[in-house]
Symmetry: C2
Subunit: 410 residues, 2 copies
């Protein structure tokens, strides 16, 4: 019987999820996997038998190198929520039948909270039916909201991108000699790790952002406008960073106050957008100062042209560590990053029981914020700065970065 | 009497306008200027005596190098429209009085159409009053809409940025296994040069954009929706690039159909935004397919972290050529780029009578578009491709690009 592995990617894209895929692939091959299969569009693709043999595609080291430098999910992604097996066993029976046909011994899933929920449920079911298949979770999310890991692969690159473009936006925003308020909207549904990264822009060569509004702190319109007016007395151009997930004290999202249509995905998440636009309009109406809003949008999660080499390397390492753990017999666990020291920065990998990860969210400690919760303290920078160090330049061909992509497999 | 030069920057920021400033500065210094002054916030700052001596700030070659790699306008910008001297001579008298006090012999203005209008009016007035001051225009605009020059400095970098992020957006947009329409809004009020650059994304490693809508082509909603539906039959994820300046057949902007507030600047330009959002909503309402909109926003004009080295070099060259021409006695002219050949790419500088530039707009030739005007032909790529070649990496310090900026001079 063959010793096969299978790997899938799930949840929102990042710049480095493919580096983890490369880590899982090479880690499995070097440990003697006969085949490493890829689920196309995650568990949903697996259920529809959409499977590729990765060795047909990742032929030379050049493809591996391109994979590491290609943003988004090479294998495609999904937002499929697995029911509990006590509620619907048929899905599980189908999945394990497919895995048996493919002679899978190792199952890897790279993703965020929802993906770890999938690993949790599959490994619980495997235990229930006494299956020997090993299930390992590989962390990935720009949101940095996973428990037990010091930080998540994907966060460092997104934070670096946000720091860089905020410096550029500040340069752009301060170019005219007229009072102006720029409100920049950053991703982060419930945690402010990404919005807080805008504080990187403050340095000896940049005025930086003037106010940061995180979803951890209930948003009060009056305080926001009072602080904006006060800032405008000190300098003519104000740049404010707000999280897309800002919530009012009554629990509603700020963006619900605007007129935008909203949608709900399979996990019940609201499709948040319009927070910055709403607040920018408020500034114009209530303070009477010109204002514009900028949404960093998907660029912050898929900017493969501007990644942290530290992040890319760690993403590869957690993939490799997952392969190692699975081949050594671990299952129902997620690989986590454990920081050994800030300066010099040292970090290693561990594995943790997946039950301690799935469906929890890690937020910014409030003691890392200043007194009125509109800025971060140096502790946050000691935490973040090592994660954005060094660059991995794309392979530019004829003026553009070269990528690798899976052509239509249907 | 001292032989002094003065230089100002005007109009919207670009990634390379500071490289032109470096070119003017070094070109003037090397030709024996006693002082090179900078107007802070352009002609408006000059009128308020907001002037710096650049040699106090650009002390070593390192500052020059940082200047070349810092986006936006180092000296700040303005959108001041000079009245004709026959309508209001007092402004002219004030300007020439200030220039006399500063012992200015050479006056440089780096900018787009509106800035060339300023050079045109000042040089006309100088001729009228028999002033010896030489006035030279240095072209700059991401929009590439200036006459007589093959292309404008700033366009190559913006086009490269747009090509790169469109490849990344396509990777991001195609990650799920569900039909999806992504509409991306690109700058360009009246000309589609930037929106057309999204076509760079189509290559052997990327599916590219599926439809391009340029302001040169009157927009018809029905045709747009029919084409989108047809494309959705061929593939599940569609990426569409639209110009912010799309106009209906009756001359109204498409974004006027949405509910956004609009503003008008001193030049009577409408503040366009919301085209992609409106069209994305139309796709959801009329076709019933999930859709999102992305505005590249100011990032496309100030992304100093991703520039074309060709563009940065040419921006420096036009600055230097302006200094050379002025010191040789030219006035009332703009430096233009003249392409000698596509492959190998060769380009030189010329000067042109400013009256042939100011207040004209260069649009994409319609014969460079395909039959239904939703894509470009290879001729456009032969034109564009040389302009995006090679990269100028920022000087990264502690994880972020180092910039240079003029601290508050008030």
């Amino acid at each position: 019987m063959a010793k096969n592995a299978i790997v899938g990617q799930s949840g929102g894209p990042t710049s480095v999820i493919n580096s983890s895929l490369a880590g899982v692939y090479q880690g499995s091959v070097s440990r003697g996997a006969d085949n490493v299969f890829g689920m196309v569009n995650g568990i949903q693709g697996l259920l529809n038998n959409r499977i590729v043999n990765l060795s047909d595609y990742l032929i030379s080291n050049l493809e591996i190198e391109l994979l590491k430098r290609t943003p988004s999910a090479y294998l495609g992604s999904c937002r499929y929520k697995l029911p509990h097996f006590k509620d619907d066993i048929s899905v599980y029976e189908k999945i394990f039948k497919i895995l048996k046909e493919l002679e899978i011994e190792y199952f890897f899933y790279i993703g965020g909270n929802d993906s770890m929920d999938t690993i949790c449920k599959l490994s619980d079911y495997a235990k229930e039916i006494k299956s020997d298949i090993k299930f390992m979770g590989v962390p990935k999310t720009i949101d940095n909201d996973l428990m037990v890991t010091d930080h998540t692969p994907g966060y460092g690159s997104a934070a670096k991108y946000i720091g860089v473009v905020m410096k550029e936006i500040v340069r752009d925003a301060t170019v005219y000699d007229t009072p102006y308020v720029t409100v920049v909207e950053i991703m982060g549904r419930n945690s402010g790790w990404l919005t807080a990264a805008t504080s990187l822009s403050k340095s000896d060569d940049c005025e930086g952002v003037d106010m940061i509004c995180l979803p951890e702190v209930p948003f009060e319109s009056d305080k926001f406008l009072v602080k904006t007016e006060r800032l405008l007395k000190e300098k003519k151009d104000i740049v404010i960073a707000v999280s897309e997930g800002l919530k009012l004290t009554d629990g509603r999202y700020v963006c619900e106050l605007s007129d935008d249509a909203r949608f709900t995905d399979a996990f019940g998440h609201k499709n948040l957008t319009g927070t910055a636009r709403y607040l920018s309009n408020q500034v114009m109406k209530k303070i009477g100062i010109k204002s514009r809003s900028i949404e960093l949008s998907t660029l912050q999660r898929c900017a493969g042209h501007l990644t942290s080499r530290t992040d890319i390397t760690e993403a590869y390492q957690v993939g490799g560590a997952a392969a190692k753990a699975a081949f050594e017999g671990h299952s129902g666990e997620m690989v986590a990053l454990k920081r050994l020291s800030n300066d010099p920065y040292q970090c290693t990998t561990q594995t943790h029981d997946i039950h301690k990860v799935a469906n929890f969210e890690k937020k910014i400690p409030l003691e890392w914020l200043n007194s009125d919760c509109t800025d971060v303290t140096p502790v946050f920078h000691q935490y973040l700065r090592p994660l954005i160090q060094a660059e991995l330049t794309p392979i530019f061909i004829n003026g553009l970065p070269q990528h690798i992509y899976l052509k239509n497999t249907d």
